[in-house]
Each structure stands twice: as structure tokens, then as C-alpha cells.
Symmetry: C2
Subunit: 345 residues, 2 copies
Amino acid sequence: MNFDAITIRDIARELHLSVSTVSKALRDSYEISEKTKKLVMEFAQKHNYRPNPMAQSLKKGHSKSIGIVVSSIDNQFFSQVINGMESEAYSQGYNVIITQSHESYDLEVQNVGHLIHRAIDGLLISIATETADVEHLRKLQQQGLPIVFFDRVSTEIETHKVIVDNFGGAYQATTHLLDSGYKNIAHITSSVTSSVTKQRLAGYIDALVEKGIEVKEQYIKYCLHGGLNLDELEQAVDELMASEPRPDAILTASDRITTSTMTLLHRKNIRIPQDVALVGFSNTVLADVLNPSLTSVHQPAFEIGRKATEMLLSIINSKRPITEFENVILPTELFIRSSSASKHK
Amino acid sequence: MNFDAITIRDIARELHLSVSTVSKALRDSYEISEKTKKLVMEFAQKHNYRPNPMAQSLKKGHSKSIGIVVSSIDNQFFSQVINGMESEAYSQGYNVIITQSHESYDLEVQNVGHLIHRAIDGLLISIATETADVEHLRKLQQQGLPIVFFDRVSTEIETHKVIVDNFGGAYQATTHLLDSGYKNIAHITSSVTSSVTKQRLAGYIDALVEKGIEVKEQYIKYCLHGGLNLDELEQAVDELMASEPRPDAILTASDRITTSTMTLLHRKNIRIPQDVALVGFSNTVLADVLNPSLTSVHQPAFEIGRKATEMLLSIINSKRPITEFENVILPTELFIRSSSASKHK
DNA sequence: AATTTTTACGCAAACGTTTGAGTTGACGTT
DNA sequence: AACGTCAACTCAAACGTTTGCGTAAAAATT
């Protein structure tokens, strides 16, 4: 499909110039006289000339597009992140190709392969909860593909990373629950292997320890599929509700887990916060109008995406190989609402 | 950036064959002996050969990618639609390039231009609420770019279209409100020019007329920016709440408008459904756990995306130009919840 | 006037494929 | 033995750019 079929050749023919002259004129080369440049530029303008991106890519060896891998686009947190990525990439003349891993290791590997095949200039990835082995990514990095991790990062690969203060967010949320009079606080989180899980778990534990509360193993539930699988999550909730003493609060560690847990509690007629309080990491814009309104740890999703993209493009555009890598940590924000209403009075 | 720098040339050199033989062998041409094919295939496999997509695109004149324009990715309805698109495109070896119009005409034009520049093979678009003039799209279509509309379609351009039964959805929702005892039903919708708006408005009006209820102009509020602009929406809500007689129910016509209206009513301490009932088009997975749970008109978003993509790819892959265009209308589903609880008893 | 320098442009190869048009040698046909 | 047929390759052009190098003519320097 060639629309506006006008090429550099056509211009050359019309203007009785050589292709190279036209090319150079368009790129404002010093080799070309002002007069000719003007002639060419105006002709190009008038005929709405656009260089063929495929030819340019082929010649220049880059595609001006970057790949994104997230678990699911249909998730407030990730769609906001992508929004930020798209915004930054776009403003720098790049476009983004999005793929979803649906938290599956196999899909992740497949997607990354597909993206590479598509000749992306760089990769933005939040690794799937299922993913434990990151060899596929390391290999690519060694071959020279710029990679920036966001959200779920790998400690085994050195590169720029953008995360939020997961520890702080969980710590703050847990402390808030404790201050509100809750004593038996459970934690539902994703896969054990995930960096995010570890950090949030540490924040949860630290807050408890600091207040002299015992950390109970049976209060900590892992969901390998990050709550995508509702059965998995339901089992976790059921087990929690059956444990002795029954938890009076739950801290949920991801957007999907938070909203799904809320839905499950509703279905089971477990009242929030009377039977069990709920605080969760979530970026839903509906937190205010949920029943009850949801106390949430909010992440600067747009900024995560924007920043990660900015960093990736800086690697891509860098002349020399990067050796110093940055680890950006953005703050979370705790929005206190009714789902964690104080137990006192 | 060239990873796995292995090209068809390298294979040819190693195997003492010509480039064309290798190329043909890889494409399983009848001109090549089985023995050679096997040799080449195995070598390619072993060295993880991947044809350079840019070279292929340049040569073949297509890019195996399709462009998508939605108002905002950060919207449950659209992210679900995109999910469906990505799924279908991916399974046919295409990838998608997503852009957002943020309901702005200018951005839409700019994005479409950018996509064309990127040499997409086809376009999936839901036009912005602001867009009244579709000349930019018609021109592209005339130049041979396959286009499929979804959600917000243009009546002025003939091509495949995928929409839902907007009339039926609105009719059903309005009838449900009437049956529940509500008499003064207002309607907040998007831009007047939009196809979706017109159809939903018609469904709303028909339901009223059928029950012999007067249609009041002041009960119908348009939001040019589709609720993206909160001030605009707030004004609409304020005006409705100030009108005489005050509406006892509102039908909202898009995901964004629905959720934002709910948020606004909360802020203004207007009780749902006691003060005013609310029924809205929405695809949020949180409808069940909202306060109150939200009666919603749900659209088969994933299927819309999947179907639209399937149709676009069929145009792209069609040998002959298409002259007969399909207009797929998918059903909506009304989920009755508490925000429209019956007034009786 | 002979020379070097500068200016402004053209030539041609290259990026990695695809593809129609040759080319070769082996074989079968008369 | 001379011919045509066929299988299995190779050649070379093409897709639309970019870019290093070459080269005229003009300008500047002797």
C-alpha cells in the first residue's frame, strides 16, 4: 500500500536533480546550495512528501519504535503507565508497540521475541509474575538491545529501572491499619519471586515488627498469577477467613488483587471494614465511589511510564555505551478512605 | 541496532548458495530441491535466522502493522477493545500501533498522519467526540487505505463498521428506569455530532415516547469532550439538579461520563438512587462493588475489538477491492444493580 | 595565466529482501 | 546425434533511502 506515492526519485526527476541532491537538500546538508534546498523543500512541502519510513529504517538500522510488555493493558495501573509512555515516546518521534504477557512466562518470551523480530529500538518491560528466569532478557541486552524495567524489575539485570517506593507504600499502609486499631493484618500478594512482592512484603513486615506485632506465616498469601486467576485468589481469601484468629484487615499488593479481593468479599457478604478492613495498592479512579470507598496506595503511573521511556530513549540516543545505571524510585501516596475506618469508637 | 546480525546473505555464503536460492528455500518455493530446502531451513533454524522486517516491508510494500486511534487508552471500555484487537492482530502476525486522540480533533488528525507516515496497512478508528469533519479519513480511504470504524463511526464514509446496539441499549436502560418507577429521566451524553450519541439518544427518546412521557429538552445534556473535561460535566449535572422538576434518574451515555457522574454525585452528597437513580453505559469491572452497585449497559468490548480487527485484516488480505461493506451490530447487556433500585415499596 | 581551493552537485554502493528472467547440466525423445 | 524438456539454481533489478567519494565549474589564490 503506497499512498502519496511521491518519492525522493519523483522529486529528483521533476526538478532535474539527482536523488542524492534531493536527499541531501531535504536533510539540510551543507553540500547543497541554499537556492536548491529551498527549491526542493518547497516542492516537497507542496507535494506533501514523506520519506518512506521502511526505507529509512532499513538504511539507518533503527525503526523509531519501542516495544512494551505489560501483564495486561486492561488494568488501570498499566493503562495509565502506557499512557505516560505513549506520551513521551510520541513527543520524541517514536511510537510504541504494546504486547501483553497476561502474567505468563511463555507469553512473555514469545512477545519479546516477536518485538525483537519487529526490530524495535528498545524495550520497556514489567516482567510477568510467573517469570523467574530472565535469561531471555539478559541475552538481548548483551546483544545490545536497550532495556528499561519498570514496576516489576529484575535484580539480575543491570540497567535503568523505574519503580515506586514499594517498601514505603506497604509500610505506610500497614502502619495506618495498625494506627486505626487493626491488629491481625493479613497480606495478599503476587508471586514470591517478584521484586515488587518482596519489597511490599518487607514494608508490611517492618511495620508490624516495629509495633511489636507478631508476623504470622498463615497471614501471608501468594498468588502466582497475580490475581488474574480468580480461583487462586478466592482460595487465599477463604483460607484467610478460616484462620485463627481471623484477620481483621487485609493489605492487598496489586491493582488486580485489590479490586478482585473487594469483589470476592462482597460476594461472600463479608463486610468492609466491619468484618475485615481493606487497604490495597490500586490506581482505580473509582476508589472514591466504591462501597466502601477504598483506602488505596496510589502509584504515579503516568510518571512511571513517562520517566521509563525518557530513560530508554536516552540510552537509545546515547553515543557511548551506558555503564552507570539509574534506579529511579517514585513515591507512592496513601489515600485514606472508609475501607480502613478506625476501629476505635 | 542489529542483533543476531545473521542475514540471508550470511546463510548463502556459509552454504555456498546464492542469496536468491536461500530466499526461495526459506519461502518453500517449488523451484528449490527438497534437499537444499532442508539444508537451508535447518541452518536458519540453528542460527536463529529472522528475516529483517524492514527489508521485507520495503520490498513487499506493507508493514504488517495496523494503526489504532481511540480517545484514551486509560478507559475500561477502550482498553478492553484494544485487548481484543491486539489478540486478533497478533494471531495473524500483525502488530498494533496505538494512539490516543483524547477526544480532540486536532490530535486525531495528527495521529492519523503519524500512523500513515509509519506505513500502517490499515486503520482502526473510533473518531473523537470533537470530530465533525472526516475529510482527512475519506482522503486516506480514497488513496486505498483500508479503514474499519468501531464504536464511534462516521456515516459519511463507506466501510466496514462495528458498533453495538446503541439504540437498544439506551432503550432498554430507559425502559428499565421507567419500569422501576422513575418518571423524570435525564440523559447526559457526548457530542451531538457523534453517531453513538444520536443512536443512544434515539433509544432514550423512543422509550419515553412509548410510555407516553414527555421528552424535555432541558433533561438532555451534551458534553462536547465526552466527560473528559470534568468542569463541563459538572455544569451539566448542576443544571440538571437545578431544573424543575428535578430529575429522579439519569442515563449516562459513555463509560467516562458514567463514572465521572457517579463521582460528582458523591461529592455533592446526592444520594443514589434515593435522590437520583443512575444507569450508565460502562464496562468497569467494578460495577458490582460501587456504592451503590451500578446498573450498567455493558458492551462486548473485547469482541468489538476482535471483530473490527478481523474485518480490517480481511480487507487488507483481499485480492479484489471491497465494494460491499458490512455493518456489524453487537448486542449490549443490561446489568441491573442497586443504582436504579425500584422506587415502589 | 596557471594553480589551488571551494562550491554544488552527481555517481554508485549499500541496507536485506523478493522475484522474474536467465542459465546450467542431466535426462528423455525422436 | 541433435533436439527439447525440466529441475535446480543463479543473476540482477528493484523497493526508497542515505552517504562517502568523485568531479565539474566557479572562485580565489598565486
